[in-house]
């Protein structure tokens, strides 16, 4: 433990979402006092009236470790996370080996603690080996040191309706939630991009919206039938938003996420066949983007989740069809959401905090995350210069990979600092190693 954590620290001139400018005294990783002109601490940081919000919480992160450490590790993903203002990430199960046993989820959890930059909460696989045929040991993962509550075969859909029903029912005993990658496999054989005008002219096999919507509709009905919690990963279609909206109106326990890239990018970007735009589910049309933005603004879509998916250069430096699906997300997520939602006046900062921190923490059950800025809350913060903008440079990312679709794009708002359990872990472009503090 560093001395900062044991002593006290004062954050001067923090602007809160309501506009108030305050000082915060942090003691033992917790907010001890909020006031004006606080002093008396050995360590004080002037936040220069930048916006202080609860640390962001990601429910959909591919950390790639174990198995693909050439593209990302738990440590490098943690560095990317805090660079983007995140204080918690959720490690998707599609690693090698798959996170389908207590052993693997505990390994990932421990690697997160060793990195020490943010919380790393493992997501367990729903089925053994993501094969979609038999349930993984969900209870063992729930009872492990990692205390897994969210389960997903993400990357693959739990397409067998009976298995999906059983999974939804089974996790009720420990208040678990199934996060579905909604993709009907038979409708997406060899699918390469959104099916529509662009795919017709490019001659790429289409991934139709109905393949997502059919699974969402089915799973909403299943969740209703068995009274379980369902979470829809990376919603991308206008029709999917409408299905979730209707389900919520009927009181069904469904939550949904949208990725930053689906809020900003459309399928016409595929026209040059650059695989940096290859992602699953695919980029959709402008009409879908607008429906997703409206859905996020009105709460139909509960949260933003990154689907951060690092890939080594060789997996993108090839013909489209041979390339891997996925985009980096952690370091650009906040700025993309600001650009898509706040600059367009569709959301304010309070709502952004709700969608990117409070709600994800509530859905996944991360009690020390997504807390209000008030005395007694854990000091997990992101500090943001909301008047600045930046140009994304893929060569200056903390992630080990370079596959960002936002390279050279100018985005609004800059993350200045990130605090995790009261420790400053990121400041002005630098990830601070915990050991150095």
């Amino acid at each position: 433990m560093s001395k900062n954590n044991e002593g006290s620290m004062i954050l001067k001139s923090a602007r809160l979402v309501d506009g108030a400018v305050v000082d915060l005294r942090i003691e033992n990783g917790v907010i001890a006092e909020i006031g004006n002109q606080l002093d008396g601490a050995k360590n004080s940081i002037d936040l220069a009236k930048n916006l202080l919000i609860p640390g962001l919480v990601d429910l959909h992160t591919h950390l790639r470790e174990p198995g693909r450490e050439d593209s990302e590790t738990v440590a490098s993903a943690s560095a990317a996370a805090v660079s983007g203002g995140y204080t918690a990430v959720s490690a998707m199960a599609n690693t090698f080996p798959v996170a389908d046993t207590a052993g693997v989820v505990e390994q990932v959890f421990r690697l997160g603690q060793e990195a020490g930059l943010c919380d790393v909460f493992p997501i367990g696989a729903v089925t053994q080996g993501l094969n979609g045929t038999a349930l993984a040991e969900l209870g063992a993962m729930a009872n492990s040191m990692a205390r897994v509550r969210m389960f997903s075969d993400d990357g693959k859909c739990v397409s067998d309706p009976l298995l999906m029903r059983r999974a939804l029912e089974y996790v009720k005993s420990f208040n678990g939630i199934i996060a579905q990658h909604a993709q009907e496999p038979r409708l997406t054989v060899n699918a390469q991009m959104n099916e529509g005008i662009v795919s017709a002219s490019l001659g790429l096999t289409g991934w139709p919206a109905v393949a997502e919507e059919a699974i969402i509709a089915r799973d909403i009905l299943l969740a209703d039938h068995v009274g379980s919690r369902l979470h829809i990963c990376h919603l991308t279609t206008a029709g999917g938003v409408e299905l979730v909206r209707t389900a919520k109106a009927r009181g069904i326990k469904v939550t949904a996420e949208v990725t930053p890239h689906h809020l900003l990018l459309t399928d016409d970007l595929v026209s040059g066949y650059d695989p940096v735009y290859k992602v699953n589910p695919p980029l959709r049309t402008q009409q879908d983007v607008e429906a997703l933005r409206l859905g996020l603004a009105d709460g139909t879509i509960d949260i933003v989740a990154t689907d951060h998916a690092p890939h080594p250069t060789e997996d993108k430096d090839c013909e489209w069809q041979a390339a891997a699906f996925g985009m980096l997300g952690l370091e650009t997520a906040l700025s993309v959401v600001v650009t898509a939602m706040i600059d367009t006046k569709m959301m304010d900062w309070a709502k952004l905090v709700e969608r990117m921190s409070i709600s994800p923490a509530r859905i996944a059950g991360y009690p020390a995350q997504g807390q209000k800025i008030s005395v007694g809350s854990v000091a997990n913060f992101a500090v943001i210069d909301t008047s600045a903008s930046w140009q994304v440079d893929r060569n200056r990312l903390a992630s080990k990979s370079r596959n960002t679709p936002f390279h050279e794009m100018k985005l609004s708002s800059v993350v200045k600092q990130t605090f995790f359990n009261g420790l400053q872990v990121f400041s002005n472009g630098e990830v601070l190693k915990r050991g150095n503090l």
Binding site: I197, S199, G203, E319, W320
Partner: protein
């Protein structure tokens, strides 16, 4: 001048007609017993074929050789899709060998554009068919063949009616032909079972029909596409016989054509499936002319990409700018 020919979209209408005109001039020279032109002497043209296609490769090879280029045939079966050598490594190898032009046939849509855009290679890239995307030289040779049959459309295809029949969804020939025929002014009708038309085809600006008997009576050109019988296994259509009855060009339908109308097919033909032997061998069929014209069109494209002229630039007549070499 664009250094590459990746898509019909790379060409203006004037440039497209320019290529047809160049091919015409080359045909005059060929008729004058001039087998070889010195235009590309010392230049290296690589045929980079990731898919088997003997007829297209031979067509490009003889085009390049008639322009005196050195030709390297690089058959790279097993692309990175099947975990062979990656497209990038292959391209860099060709760059090291000093290729001036790379003619690429690849099973992945967009492979030609990736080769041109990625910076892996400096050579001009000619798309000889990429997945289910485009096959621009096929469309150009088809247009050239149409023009030879209908001299009244030499300067414009305005008013010409063309039906393209068959597996539009998986056809790079159809995509390139739709783009080029529309660019030149023709009116295009697509005929296919709805399963073999892409979602999004409405944006192509063409007519659609499922009634071959009706459409065939009014068109000047009927362009048949190869249908792979494997499509049946994916339930695109129930059986070969049913497909053939609805969308095949048999003798009865052939007789519905107007007297001057022509029948085209990019080959290889599935006789008995999309086209009957009677239709394929009839006097209305220009299938063999298409093959012969393929060499002329590919000469014209190579000449204009490597010979230092803009695509379609016809100000310097081929005949006068080349030393007569008998």
């Amino acid at each position: 001048m664009d250094r590459h020919l990746l898509s019909i979209n790379d060409l203006t209408r004037a440039e497209a007609f320019g290529i047809l005109n160049t091919a015409h001039e080359l045909s005059i020279i060929s008729d004058g017993n001039l087998k070889k032109l010195p235009t590309l002497r010392g230049r290296t043209v690589v045929n980079l074929f990731f898919e088997d296609s003997t007829r297209t490769r031979i067509s490009f090879e003889s085009a390049a050789k008639r322009l005196s280029a050195d030709v390297i045939n690089f058959s790279a079966k097993g692309s990175s899709v099947s975990k062979g050598e990656s497209l990038k490594d292959t391209a860099q190898t060709l760059q090291a060998m000093g290729a001036d032009a790379v003619i690429i046939r690849h099973g992945a849509s967009g492979a030609a554009q990736r080769l041109a855009d990625s910076g892996w290679i400096q050579a001009s890239v000619i798309n000889a068919g990429d997945g289910t995307h485009e096959h621009p030289t096929q469309a150009l040779l088809d247009a050239y063949t149409i023009r030879n049959s209908f001299p009244e459309y030499t300067d414009s295809f305005d008013g010409l009616k063309v039906a393209i029949v068959g597996d539009i969804l998986h056809s790079r020939v159809a995509r390139s032909n739709v783009l080029l025929l529309k660019k030149l002014g023709a009116q295009v009708t697509l005929l296919a079972p709805p399963t073999l038309l892409p979602v999004g085809v409405d944006s192509w600006g063409v007519e659609r029909s499922y009634d071959f008997d009706q459409v065939i009576q009014s068109v000047d050109v009927v362009m048949m596409l190869r249908v792979q019988s494997e499509r049946m296994l994916d339930s695109f259509f129930p059986s070969e016989r049913e497909y053939s009855r609805s969308f095949g060009l048999d003798g009865r339908r052939l007789n519905l054509l107007k007297p001057r109308s022509i029948v085209m097919h990019p080959g290889p033909m599935n006789r008995g499936l999309e086209i009957s032997a009677e239709s394929a061998d009839s006097h209305k069929s220009v299938v063999l002319a298409q093959v012969a014209n393929g060499v002329l069109i590919r000469m014209a494209v190579l000449y204009q990409l490597l010979g230092g002229q803009t695509l379609g630039g016809t100000s310097n007549s081929l005949i006068s700018s080349q030393p007569v070499n008998k």
